[in-house]
Amino acid sequence: MNIHEYQGKELLAKFGVSVPKGGVASTPEEAAEIAKELTGKVVVKAQIHAGGRGKGGGVKLVDNVSEAKQTASEILGMNLVTHQTGPEGRLVKKVWVEEASDISRELYLGIVLDRSTGLPTIMASTEGGMDIEEVAEKFPEKLLKIPVDPLLGIWPSSARKIAYSLGLPDNLIKDGVRFITNLYKFYEEMDASLVEINPLVQTKDDRLLALDAKVNFDDNALSRHEDVKEMRDTDEEDPLEVKASSFNLNYIKLDGEVGCMVNGAGLAMATMDIIKLAGSSPANFLDVGGGASREMVENAFRILMDDQAVRAVFINVFGGILRCDILAQGVVDAVKSVNVNVPVIIRMEGTNVEEGRNILESSGLDFKVGNGMADAAQKVVEALKN
């Protein structure tokens, strides 16, 4: 799960990670109130989940309170387009107003799981401010990776090593060690899956501050972090994906024309692949899970039919725990109760497949049944031509 920069900064501050002084505002008046409490110049930053906000015009430096109010009124309600939002952009509902920092150096600090070792890994670079994948590509020697033993946690010596590698002056090493140690504590205790401080700045008056904060959380661990769960902003997600998640369906919207309904994530991806191989394109990824009930199938149809781009539905199920006869009954009931106005192609295999096929055939509804994945995909493409 993603959160906004302002939520990330508020959480980090609780863990003793130093962030610039500031606050979040939903109106220009609130922005002005916050700016009044700050000293010197002020930065107004649009709060959306996508990156590239500065280039898109969503981050502005201003001189005083009245300018802060004026700028907030311009940014709030704007449709911010960045390279990550797509051309449709994202509506800005909140701004983060903070004290401008007098920057001497921009650094990078991140913590992420290294899947190949199974260890949390701290990444540090003196090349802050640019995309870290760019740093990894252009200056791999400038990207330091320090794995942490999760049973021991982070030791001062590891943190010191990172602090020195960032080229911090002697009088900032202690602050650096504290910053790194607290950031790791945050990552660990909060079940984060990614923390990225880019840039981490060294100011001219020798302070270390998290100028930006990108934080992702492990969805599997949200049940032990109610406070984080409440930070979810569904306006930042695709509306169909939000609806699907309320039905406990694992759905990702894509831009093709064939709606897919599959049990199991691997088979769901393979189904998308075979649609492509047959010459069409998938409209979504949808895993209905191992024990799809009639209700689940109905809800899945609702989601697929809400997507105007869907011109055919491909159901691919390998019945294990989920029996084909139960699935078939679910599909028949769903098609009767949801208004399904596109061809439906079904491929079923596994437990009770004969009973399942009989239910489909005797339903009086117009299903096409595929014999194997390739044949079914072919039937989907033929149906699209009609």
């Binding site: 990894a136 990614l194 049940s223 049990n263 691997g266 088979l267 991806m269 492509k276 191989l277």
Partner: protein, 297 residues
């Protein structure tokens, strides 16, 4: 012969009195009866607080240690809910079971980080979590897969996915190709056993003639294994990667991709696998067929 499990396997099911655990323990017992002439089977269960109960004729204990000493269990199958699953795995490791298979989906990554680290200097092999389990057709089923689609034979199957594993097994069986052992390694970011360890076991297994490896996007496990296999595996291999049409960046943060040196797209993975001598098919409908062609049957 086979790998990991056979007709001598004595299974303790952790979470046997739960809905999932109970249902699948029963299915595993049925498989033993119907397809394995009473071979590898469930011998006991564990649910803390329910020690002394009987489940389908097998005793339930409070701890794994008791189940091991009382019933001679030598492998554990775990169906414990996600919040408690890591604890259940640790208990099984501490009972010195040589094999632990965890089916549970949704275990927090941090919990698995601890488990994986704890496993480092232990002899236990952990399969999963978030996997369908392991089956040696005709000998023992330890998992949630439909037993009847399998056939005894000489193809080793390793896969990250659940239903896609059933798909490949059914395609193999359709081609008349039986399986020595099928292993679902699980789709989570941290899993107990990766491809390389299992490829080693299949290479050493006299009854395995060829290996099929099914992967998916994300991470670098498949190309790492392919490069390793090029030097170490003499048996023919077939491969498939699911997610050729998956959009980038939906499941993992950018930083994760850097660490592993690139996002791990299906195309990249398939290229490295092909270059390493693995017979890669682009079509998920032709996994079994490709194996049949490679073996000339």
């Amino acid at each position: 012969m086979s790998i990991l499990i056979d007709k001598e396997t004595r299974v303790v099911v952790q979470g046997i009195t739960g809905r999932e655990g109970g249902y699948h323990a029963k299915q595993c017992m049925n498989y033993s009866k119907e397809y394995a002439s009473g071979g590898g089977n469930v011998v006991s269960g564990v649910t803390p607080g329910k020690g002394g109960e009987i489940f389908e004729g097998t005793p339930v204990f409070n701890t794994v240690g008791q189940a091991v000493s009382e019933t001679g269990a030598n492998a554990s199958l775990i169906f414990v809910p996600p919040t408690f699953a890591a604890d259940a795995i640790l208990e099984a490791i501490d009972a010195e079971l040589p094999l632990v298979i965890c089916i549970t989906e949704g275990i927090p990554v941090k919990d698995m980080m601890y488990v994986k680290r704890y496993l480092n200097d232990k002899d236990t092999i952990l399969i999963g979590p978030n996997c369908p389990g392991v089956i040696t057709p005709g000998e023992c089923k330890m998992g949630i897969m439909p037993g009847h689609i399998h056939k005894q034979g000489s193809i080793g199957v390793i896969s990250k996915s659940g239903t896609l594993t059933y798909e490949v097994v059914s395609q193999l069986t359709e081609q008349g190709l039986g399986q020595s052992t099928c292993v679902g390694i699980g789709g989570d970011p941290i899993i107990g056993t990766m491809y390389v360890e299992l490829l080693t076991l299949f290479e050493e297994d006299d009854d395995t003639e060829a290996i099929i490896m099914i992967g998916e996007i994300g991470g670098t496990a498949e190309p790492d294994a392919a490069l390793w296999a090029k030097e170490n595996i003499t048996k023919p291999m077939v491969g498939f990667i699911a997610g050729q049409t998956a959009p980038p960046g939906r499941r993992m943060g950018h930083a994760g991709a850097i660490i592993s040196g690139g996002e791990g797209t299906a195309q990249e993975k398939m290229k490295i696998m092909s270059e390493s001598g693995i017979h890669v098919t682009e079509s998920p409908a032709e996994m079994g067929l490709t194996m049949a062609k490679v073996l000339g049957v």
